[in-house]
Symmetry: C2
């Protein structure tokens, strides 16, 4: 089982934002704005992206996927408000 | 000289968006929406973040910094429109 750390950012038409958000929430953690992230198996990531492809309109929308093979290679820090943390208590 | 690959996403008050964008454009490449990325030296990254801190209001804004120590550990793909590519010709 291969686990990767993934960051997904999207820039989609307003009418599809809620659907894209709902889909990504099934697999990852919401960070801020249009950014989701988390550890995921490659298999689930494939499934997630396949389902996303059926939601977005690839002629106008854009989804960026950053896959980091080993989470130890990632150094993450936030300044200002940690919105995902706040979100946990809402 | 240590070079890292960095992805910066922000969620800031509308009145500061233009300033944050302008600042990040000095150092990184705009990808989509509120996402910038690129290779940068640690020294310049520090400078960039220091300058950003003077722009954002840390009580309401949020900036996430993802630093990948070795770009070889990053696998990036986009589906849909590559907005940063389009941007180059605007």
């Amino acid at each position: 089982m291969v686990i990767v750390y993934v960051i997904i950012t999207y820039d989609v038409s307003e009418k599809r934002v809620a659907k894209v958000n709902k889909k990504l929430k099934e697999y990852l953690i919401w960070t801020q704005n249009s950014v989701f992230e988390g550890e995921i198996t490659r298999t689930l990531l494939k499934k997630c992206l396949f389902e996303l492809e059926n939601i977005v309109d690839e002629s106008v929308d854009s989804v960026s996927v950053y896959e980091i093979k080993n989470p130890n290679h990632l150094n993450k820090y936030i300044f200002g408000v940690d919105k995902s943390f706040n979100d946990m208590f809402i």
